[in-house]
């Protein structure tokens, strides 16, 4: 045999040359891949759109739940217990009570709203100033507003606190504001887990879509793959163009998903703003932040890559000589 060349060597074996070859091989793979994609634009756009919609579903749900959580968390900051004191409890007694309660670890802070303050506030806000002026006696009670320590306040501790407070002799009634907020947050926690499961399922769906599309295109190129292999193509040489195609599918799908989410935020932006105004809140819907967009593209591209890697790997191992 020819002794001038070591068996199995390529064009040249120096490290710099190897790197050049590596770059050239990748450039070629990218060209082959894009060439292949442009040969069947409609079919490929369809595949990418399907992948995009599949990715958009869990991502959209994630977005909605995130926003809902955010709204609720803002409210949660306002969770407070209003303690209406009995009419005969005067301001000094109320102040004393407030000082006593301050020692409680569940209580973050206490504000006393005296009946005069409440009345004044009511006068300015309601516009019934004159009518109220006519009242001989202030009908409002002194009120203590307790802001509980959120961290230590489980729902059990919350109702226990209310129970304890309402049993005090100065207290007429104690009400936990926005108890429903906590319930919704609990429900959202369940939904978040649902999103994780859904994301897993839809990821598998993306893998299957990419894998199946790849399987078809591998089938169409099986003769070429066979001949390439017969003349010494390595598995990576065969795989590379398919991996690029998978990557393009994944990244393209992510782009479609992102556009769909932008559209979603755009469409619900107006109604959400209207709602915010009605509730006197300055909440505006949040789209995906940079990190989330990055994650979307990362997951999409990763799935595309993985799907095609599995499909080509299976085909190649089936063509090993036996």
């Amino acid at each position: 045999m020819n002794v001038k060349r070591k068996p199995g060597t390529g064009p040249n074996n120096s490290l710099g040359r190897k790197f050049q070859v590596w770059i050239a091989q990748h450039a070629r793979a990218m060209l082959v891949s894009t060439g292949q994609l442009s040969k069947n634009p409609i079919g490929n756009i369809f595949s990418i759109a399907v992948i995009g919609i599949t990715l958009a579903l869990p991502a959209g749900l994630h977005l909605i739940i995130n926003n809902a959580t955010q709204i609720l968390e803002n409210w949660e900051g306002n969770v407070q217990v209003a303690i209406y004191l009995k009419p005969h409890v005067d301001e000094a007694q109320a102040r004393q009570l407030s000082q006593n309660l301050q020692a409680d670890s569940v209580i973050e802070n206490i504000t006393l709203i005296t009946k005069e303050q409440a009345l004044n506030e009511y006068k300015t806000l309601s516009g019934f100033a004159e009518a109220l002026e006519a009242l001989e006696e202030n009908p409002l009670p002194n009120v203590l507003i307790i802001r509980p320590n959120i961290n230590s306040l489980s729902s059990v501790a919350g109702s226990e606190l209310i129970h304890r407070l309402s049993n005090m002799e100065e207290v007429e009634s104690a009400q936990l504001d926005h108890q429903w907020v906590n319930r919704l947050i609990a429900i959202l926690d369940i939904l978040k887990r649902g999103v994780i499961i859904l994301t897993t399922l839809f990821s598998i769906a993306v893998l299957l879509i990419v894998g199946n599309t790849m399987r078809l295109s591998i089938f169409n190129k099986r003769t070429e793959i066979e001949i390439d292999k017969l003349f010494g193509a390595t598995n990576s040489f065969i795989q590379r163009p398919f991996l690029y195609t998978g990557l393009i599918y994944g990244a393209g799908g992510s782009l479609v998903a992102w556009c769909l989410l932008l559209l979603l935020t755009f469409i619900i932006q107006d109604p959400v703003n209207q709602l915010s105004i009605l509730y006197g809140s300055d909440f505006a819907i949040n789209g995906l932040n940079a990190k989330e967009v990055f994650a979307l593209f990362g997951i999409g591209s990763g799935l595309g890559l993985l799907g095609s890697w599995i499909a080509v790997g299976r085909h190649l191992s089936a063509t090993e000589p036996t």
Partner: protein, 224 residues
């Protein structure tokens, strides 16, 4: 150097294509393999190219035990082979140039190098003017010569040709054989399966005759 020791090949169908085959081909030799249709010529070449694996026995090619050549080493091993198929196996959606370039593209040569060698190779088989044609636009004989050009373009150390002249007229057949002889003269080991007994006798090279998967005779060239 190619050495077969008690090689058996049984296909999945249960057909025994080779039975207890022993043979030795020296490095740098040019050897013909003949035998009736179905004798196992193609199978023999496929075992050497690692397209199939033997069921039993040992094959050594260029001091490598083929049983140990696995995974990516199969690819590297094949880069030293030139293979010509009985059924051409050209890619019909690629030009003649691209078809011939394939073994070099696969090995990662630069475009300039590829162009130079493909042109030289096509020139040798007399098809340089057809480099931009597609295989289906060529005659059977022309396709076969594209196959020859592809088999030698990367200067393999071992050339395996399965009926390389099946579709060629006598004059072209003779020319192709002379071409293989030229490669052999620069050190390439050449193994050619062929039916054309009359022609291969004229070349005065060793002939291995197979019959039903067994070695019938190994004729050394006869001086006239």
């Amino acid at each position: 150097m190619i050495q077969f020791t008690d090689v058996y090949k049984r296909y999945a169908s249960g057909k025994d294509a080779l039975k207890k085959l022993n043979l030795f081909v020296e490095q740098g030799a040019m050897v013909f393999i003949t035998g009736r249709s179905g004798a196992g010529k193609t199978t023999l070449l496929r075992l050497i190219a690692l397209i199939e694996r033997q069921t039993r026995g040992q094959i050594i090619v260029n001091s490598q035990n083929l049983e140990r050549v696995k995974g990516n080493r199969i690819s590297l091993f094949r880069r030293n082979l030139g293979f010509m198929f009985q059924d051409h196996r050209l890619l019909n959606d690629r030009t003649v140039f691209d078809n011939v370039a394939l073994p070099m593209v696969v090995a990662g040569y630069s475009y300039q190098e590829i162009r130079k060698r493909v042109h030289a190779s096509l020139d040798k088989v007399g098809l340089l003017s057809l480099e931009k044609s597609y295989p289906l636009a060529l005659s059977g004989g022309e396709q076969q010569r594209v196959g020859i050009a592809r088999a030698v373009v990367h200067r393999p150390a071992l050339l395996l040709a399965d009926e390389p002249t099946g579709n060629l007229d006598p004059a072209l057949s003779w020319e192709s054989m002379k071409l293989f002889e030229q490669f052999n003269q620069v050190g390439v080991t050449v193994l050619i399966a062929s039916h054309d007994l009359e022609m291969i006798r004229r070349l005065r090279k060793p002939i291995i005759t197979l019959k039903a998967g067994q070695l019938l005779t190994k004729n050394l060239p006869v001086e006239p």
